[in-house]
Symmetry: C2
Amino acid sequence: MSNVPKSVVIHEEGPREGFQIAAKPIATKLKVELIEALAETGIKQIDSVALVDPKRVPGWADADDVARLIRKHPGVRYTGLWLNLRGLERAAALPLDIVGVIRLTASETFCLRNTNRTLAQTVDEQRKWLRFYRERNIPLEWGYIMTAFGCNYEGDIAPAKVRAMVAEILSLADEFGYSIDGVVLADTVGMGTPLKVERIIGMIRDEWPELRLGTHLHDTRGTGLANAWAALSLGVQQFDTTVAGLGGCPFASSKGAPGNICTEDFVYMCEEMGISTGIDLARLIECARLAESIVGHPLPGKVMKAGVRPQSLVA
Amino acid sequence: MSNVPKSVVIHEEGPREGFQIAAKPIATKLKVELIEALAETGIKQIDSVALVDPKRVPGWADADDVARLIRKHPGVRYTGLWLNLRGLERAAALPLDIVGVIRLTASETFCLRNTNRTLAQTVDEQRKWLRFYRERNIPLEWGYIMTAFGCNYEGDIAPAKVRAMVAEILSLADEFGYSIDGVVLADTVGMGTPLKVERIIGMIRDEWPELRLGTHLHDTRGTGLANAWAALSLGVQQFDTTVAGLGGCPFASSKGAPGNICTEDFVYMCEEMGISTGIDLARLIECARLAESIVGHPLPGKVMKAGVRPQSLVA
């Protein structure tokens, strides 16, 4: 209990994650509207667009337009996702906040399917990004390890693979004269459990006790907030989340509910436990309702339906 | 980590909880069909009907018929809920397994609204039940404390109130010459957080280290499995759950998603962590789909949508 942090930092990934898999085209102005509303809640970083191949991800064909149209809120960082140098170059040419990251994937099979690169090719690709950061004095912040808790192609991921990824990230940073802020462990396909979170974090802490850790937890099988609590109770302070649980249509098909843990449910849980998030929950719930109206189908978030406190306490 | 149990006992409450608040009338034979399917999964106790006033709970006007129609599976207990002596007498006249329980509510306001009785009157009512159990040699098993983690009328519940309820339950049992198996802490309105679970369980353990504990956790605000993990990590071994997260229609209104933690999501989480449930998850998922088809709207369970393992691993 004593390791529970006093505060957490939340990176909102709802726009980028939610609109990249939307079943129907979403108007550019609605994407911008959600991002602008999120910026009013106290959230300090919003992953706003995906700078990826529009043929593979048609939902983000308008990423450049969205990035240009957002009216920026002071103190909020607007980031984008890229998976290759071309995406990074595209991001850097837009009015976005370029945050230097390294992205590795613990499962080589997933890596091949997602980016068409082997692990070795991915490491080389990271060198191109790092060179780009160096040349432009872009600070390197976090390393991301995708499929750290399991893979839909390989199944369970050996903790030793995650350990190797952490070592690779630190080595890559060092190679370019960077120190890194920390490492984000991503449960990309929602196969994490609290015990896996405890084991993997414990393993990393044993070897790199000073390394900051964050999580990116998909709530595919309902264990998302349980995994987040496992991370919180080990002192983790940075969490990627998506408003309303954006990131998938859980009721459209048997493909499942791949959304991230829901921002407002996580904020509710934290604030109720005295863990400060800096986020205005009432405003955030309005954003969740806006997200539902934009995608046009129910989203998984629960606090937006139940209210922060039962109705009769509010009345 | 060392306190995580090797196995858990799951009490399925889906039929009783789900059909008591159903928005539309559900045919008696469909209720029976779900109960019979659940009995094939390895679940050992199914709370099957609510023996309450049909004017207040029209969804269970056919409780007697359901109880009579179920084809019983050997080794499965079919229980019912009662809130007064009349309900208990009704239950005892039906082919149900009568499990002696004591039911108290930490919030007196909730108690008044739910049962029209003060706490003192509730204690007197329990004496009537206990007399009934004694006269018929019905074993007393568990004491239930409703609203142990918060109340929609009173807000936060002081841990001292929960402590007083535990003491009252033990005293009542003793008064009738019973020892009690344990106490179930119920988050009736879904206001629990993992820290509250840790604090209240810690408090009870300090005073009654040998007392077995169970939980009945509503997932109203998305914290259900996180709370369950907090309980598991403290060694709790008994959990009330509802298949598919039955217990409310989360998308019908702003009244929220009052369903219990979802049986199959909880079973998935436990089994993935090596905690044995004795339940056939594939069969249970079929039951969750059946429950959705019976109520006619999406239910909150996630594993039934995502699959136990990603599709490509199964194929």
